[in-house]
Assembly symmetry: C2
DNA sequence: TTTTCATGTAATAATAATAGTTACGAATAG
DNA sequence: CTATTCGTAACTATTATTATTACATGAAAA
């Protein structure tokens, strides 16, 4: 299967939106993300329901970030996307009759559950503000490099 | 995409093999795992290369566990399977030119890398012997329940 | 009011990864 | 020599994500 890249894509989009004082259309976002406007709408729909963004139809409409950068963590966004499955690996059957399989499932589930909890906690520690700051740092570095070269 | 269930399947197979004093054929294993003999061979191929199991062709041949139950961890098996991708989620692009995307990738990669390290460490703590013991406990419990019922 | 712009959404196709099948070659025991 | 069993390549099926097409709905602008 293809890998799910919605979280990655949506973070990119939100940071873009944060830098602008007027709404961004799905068309504009799609160009940035190298994808299709309909895909943008579909993905942002979840964020709208959670109140992370607002959308306006018609002339001058588009998408706007509805909360402060410091108030939105990657975990919030993961949740708004519907908490998609994190792991590619899974059990053959979730409720097997065979006792061997039950023992195997239990051991694997244990490990995966803990890893998931840790990962989600980590996502909660990073806000859009953190990412915006990191971007600014990278941008300054980038300019310094360019200056140095000529 | 479909989820990868090879680790789960192979653990089931190995525990089965451990209980037997002669080789198990791919056919027999496939019946246990509700799958196809060719799938069994393909999956076991990696374990053979790592020396976890041996295979013998022809009459009376089949698959044999080559190491003690205490000496094989779930991590060893994960490695023998070729360390398949653990996460379903990934970045849109692994080496983006855009600096925003770089910042996003870095934050996500960080979180995922740590979760992966933790998960793999956890897999290393559980051996086939652990699983076999857990199975025996479950089996005893199962028999007790049956006895109680009549 | 009509036109234009933009989202909302359903339906369908494309893409990609895993799993299952078929077919046949190679080795080994009897 | 024959029956059995692994080894492997090629092809199909299944499933999840992503992309595309088409059209309805709502809102600003002409
Ligand atoms: S393309 Fe617009 S910020 Fe990455
Ligand atoms: S079917 Fe054989 S142990 Fe599960």
């Amino acid at each position: 299967m293809k890998r799910n890249s919605r979280l990655s894509a949506v973070l990119h989009a939100l940071l873009h939106m944060a830098e602008r004082d007027r709404p961004m259309t799905s068309e504009e976002l799609a160009t940035c993300l190298h994808t299709n406007p309909v895909v943008v709408r579909r993905t942002m729909a979840g964020l709208r329901e959670t109140g992370l963004v607002t959308s306006v139809r018609g002339h001058g409409g588009g998408w706007t970030l509805a909360r402060a950068l410091e108030d939105v963590s990657m975990r919030d966004i993961y949740a708004a996307l519907g908490e998609p499955m994190l792991f590619q690996m899974g059990n053959v059957s979730e409720s097997p009759g065979c006792l061997v399989e039950q023992a195997v499932n239990h051991a694997l589930d244990d490990a995966f559950r803990d890893a998931e909890a840790m990962l989600i906690a980590r996502l909660g520690e990073v806000t859009l503000a953190t990412l915006a700051d990191d971007f600014k740092r990278r941008f300054a570095e980038h300019r310094a490099t360019l200056k140095q070269l000529g």
